[in-house]
């Protein structure tokens, strides 16, 4: 590094030393090649009709217009919003509950349980999907368990059911995401000054009052992070649906990202797929902005 310092020091003095920017240049080049350029290209392609090879034909806003008038696409967006409940709200509620309990109760070997509960988060979605497909299978552990409990009437092909497939895929998302929320909140709880809890106790607060008056307000920042992360995942999720149901039965678990894949790789409609991709990006951007604007700290 010595020679590098010499190099920098020998440069004539300017108001801003641009040489520092050289250090981000390699990373920025990668960012341009692998993020900004594809994004710009997708944006351009979204105004064209293109089979994936050959010439792109300019069609203006036609792809966007057709997407907005496609009932299947609109219903797939509704499915995404239902999945937000499972991918985002449930994990955050469970994570908060666990964090709240851990504040009050000292459990032996807590690090072990924390690691176990966090495990789903580090598994590949493909592995998770295949495992849960097996759990939900007609003769899988879930149905075997129900039969064992004498609840034979309840057992069914969960992922093959028009009524249950979507919520049951959603529950897999809850299982995957709650560990993430929990770790985030436990870390947040640890930075709350213990004096606050002592003061709450002196004021005669029970566990619930303590949670709502001390823990919850202090975790606002972490909740925003968890919301942004999980809502984004709920909307752009692809692998879990692809592995478990493929959007079926019928279109009951179809989500926009499945349509993007099908249009681009099965139907020769890369232009239309691109426009749907841009729409999905805008939707995520809008929702995240709303979350940040509504929940940010008021000065």
């Amino acid at each position: 590094m010595g020679s590098m310092n010499k190099f920098i020091n020998n440069r004539p003095h300017k108001k801003i030393d641009y040489s520092n920017y050289y250090f981000i240049l390699p990373a920025f080049l990668f960012y341009i090649i692998f993020v900004l350029y594809p994004l710009a290209d997708t944006f351009y392609t979204s105004f064209t009709q293109w089979s994936g090879i050959g010439e792109k034909k300019w069609v203006g806003l036609e792809n966007y217009y057709n997407n907005l008038n496609d009932v299947k696409i609109i219903s797939s967006i509704k499915h995404s919003f239902i999945l937000i409940i499972f991918y985002s709200f449930f994990p955050i509620i469970i994570g908060l509950a666990i964090a709240g309990i851990m504040v009050r109760v000292k459990v032996k070997g807590i690090a072990f349980y924390r690691a176990i509960l966090f495990l789903p988060q580090i598994l590949s979605m493909i592995v998770v999907g295949i495992a849960w497909r097996w759990i939900y299978a007609p003769k899988g552990p879930l149905n075997t368990g129900l039969d064992f409990l004498g609840l034979d009437n309840w057992s069914r092909a969960w992922l093959g059911s028009f009524d249950f497939a979507l919520p049951f895929v959603g529950l897999i998302g809850t299982w995957v995401m709650f560990g993430f929320a929990m770790i985030l909140f436990i870390a947040g709880v640890q930075k709350i000054p213990t004096e606050l809890y002592d003061a709450a106790k002196v004021d005669g607060a029970g566990p619930f009052a303590e949670f709502f008056n001390v823990t919850l307000p202090a975790l606002k920042g972490e909740i925003i992070v968890a919301l942004v992360f999980t809502v984004t995942l709920a909307l752009r999720n692809f692998d879990l649906i692809y592995i478990t149901t493929g959007g079926g039965p019928g279109t009951s678990t179809m989500i926009p990202s499945m349509f993007i894949y099908k249009k681009a790789f099965q139907m020769n409609q890369v232009g239309s797929a691109s426009s749907l991709g841009i729409m999905l990006t805008l939707l995520i951007f809008t929702l995240i902005s709303l979350i940040l604007i509504t929940l940010r700290e008021k000065k």
Partner: protein, 413 residues
Amino acid sequence: MKKLMIFITLILTVFTFNIKAETLRILAEAGDEATLTIAAAQFEESNPGVTIEASYLGWDDFMATIKLKLADNNPPDLAHGNQGFTVDGTLIQNGLVIPLDEYADQYGWKNLFAEGSLAEFSWSDDGSTWGSGSLYGISPVAEDVIVYYNKDKLKSLGLSVPSNFAEFENALSVSNNAGELPIILGGADGWPIIHVWGLIEGAFVEPEQVRSWIFNAKGTEFKTSSRMKAAKKLEEMATAGYFGSDSLGIGYDDANAMFINGDGVFNLTGTWMTAQLNEGMGDNVGAFAMPRNSSGVAGGGSFALPWHISSKSSNPDLAAKFLDHLMSNDFVDDLMEIGRVPAQAPTINPTSKLQAEVISASNALVGANAKTFYTDWSTPGMYDTVTQELQKLIGGAASADNFMDAMAAESIK
């Protein structure tokens, strides 16, 4: 030492002058790996200096990338496509593959099959119309959708192999009443239901009419009264519980494993399953072509995936020569030994009882000119539509009328 070096150099020089080193690059769908491994070894032996480099991709990956691979500046010389506008049509429209008529005449491929049976490989040169025109692909393998059955179960139910559709329906009803699952179906994957639909459709609609619709879905009426009958029949079968209550939660591989383990009296699937079912069930599995409602047989089916020669291939003659090896009469027996169903009549005895029955079912379909291809070939969006609508029909979420309306709407898109 010096002498040895001179000797080696001499030998190498002789070989280099005598034999032109050539490489043939092949990209295939993974189902062809066993076939190609044998064919490549034979071809390399009889053509010294030729090296075959074959690579394989599983179905989903293959279909998602084949167009891009052939559009590349350095594409494989020989590659699979897929019948229909989605893959083959797009390849021809963009000039990525060459017509094979010259090679077909040179090697006599057209004489191997009945008049008109290569229609699924025939296209106008701009790739806009399908079913006639130049020959753009060829395949040595036939794949048909037929009915496999559990022999013990059929016997213990007091049934025999049905000879018309009414008898088949009766067998389903008897199985159901006896507490057996009549038809095992891996409906979670969607596409296996296309094969079931193909058989029911074939039982009611003239095969010629089905093919015309697939070649030209936009210009051919889908909602005919005979097809309506077929849709109603499928709805009736689903309502009667002939596919069980869990079929939409079972994948294709699981369904076949369950059939091997004794679930289901009938299994409506393709001849590509022959080797696997024979290995799992031995003499307990039989096969027949689906009998039609009136008379004769019908069923989904076609040649296997077409082979195409890239328009950028530096050595199309060598690629065609290899294709001719695949199409040759000698190779038919090798196909039989791997358990595949050759498109040409085999010269050796079947390797198993099941293969014998499968080949006779396949011959019956060829003889009656009753192969009806696959519904999803018809339009690029049809795969999605037909799998979704069939899942709804099987799962009771839509009626036969809903199904026919959705299909007709997709046909004219």
